[in-house]
């Protein structure tokens, strides 16, 4: 049992990777008398890979339970049909306040190089479904 837990723990520590799905950059403004301060905003939610969850759960099951878990995974799959980017999440509005977060980071509103990134940080069974926005806040020199 401890061996299984050690394997699982090591997997979470060492087996993770990032996958980029989409990146887009906006306008780039040059202001010679300005200070450019970089800001990053990251919002994310947890995605679940039902197939991998089933595979992991099967390690602890007998043959009959494995058949049942296959059936459950099959039924869940029928209810989750459609195009996917990363793993499915169970919240639809985790990116709803991006513009508010941008103005909180850059109250002057003088922003350049706004870059929107959609990526996945993949771990065994779960994943971080991430939207990252980076940019530069321009403030006047000496301000």
């Amino acid at each position: 049992m401890n061996r299984y837990l050690l394997c699982l723990f090591s997997s979470f520590l060492f087996v993770s990777c990032a996958q980029l799905h989409h990146v887009q950059i906006g306008e780039v403004v040059s202001e010679p008398n300005g200070n450019y301060q970089r800001f990053d905003i990251k919002v994310s939610d947890t995605g679940v890979d039902i197939g991998e969850a089933t595979q992991v759960a099967k390690i602890f099951m007998n043959q009959r339970q494995r058949d049942t878990s296959d059936a459950v995974a099959g039924i869940v799959g029928l209810f989750q049909m459609g195009p996917r980017t990363g793993n499915p999440v169970y919240s639809s509005n985790y990116t709803s306040n991006l513009i508010e977060l941008i103005y909180a980071k850059c109250p002057s509103g003088n922003i350049t190089g706004l870059t929107s990134i959609r990526e996945t940080r993949k771990y065994p069974v779960i994943s971080g479904e991430i939207v990252k926005v980076t940019g530069y806040c321009i403030t006047k020199k000496g301000a």
């Binding site: 906006g26 209810f79 459609g82 639809s92």
Partner: protein, 109 residues
């Protein structure tokens, strides 16, 4: 224990089957509004959907619909800081593609 074995698969199915979403893309456009203008601006939103059953669909102009809805939400002003989201609500043998546009409507002085 037998009851547990029966209910666990049922519970797992219900827990994981419903309300799954996949976010494909989010983009935030530029905004030239100062903080004062941002505070005065009105948040507007336009959403448009495309229902698809096993990949068959009839709505092919839902992105244009979302754009016109957004433009109509701010008839006499300009729209800045538009956040565009493209996502899919996953479902039983079917799915709904969604385009959601949010922006800040500012009136011209």
């Amino acid at each position: 224990m037998k009851q547990f074995k029966i209910w666990l698969p049922i519970f797992s199915t219900i827990a994981f089957a419903g309300c799954a979403h996949s976010l494909h893309m989010t983009h935030v456009s530029d905004s030239a509004l100062s903080h004062a203008e941002y505070s005065k601006s009105k948040a507007i939103e336009a959403r448009s959907e495309q229902f698809s059953f096993l990949g068959f669909t009839t709505d092919t102009d839902y992105v244009d619909q979302a754009y016109s809805k957004l433009a109509k939400s701010c008839p006499n002003g300009s729209i800045e800081g538009i956040t565009t989201e493209y996502s899919t609500d996953l479902g039983f043998l079917s799915w709904t593609n969604i385009v959601n546009m949010r922006g800040l409507c500012t009136m011209q002085p």
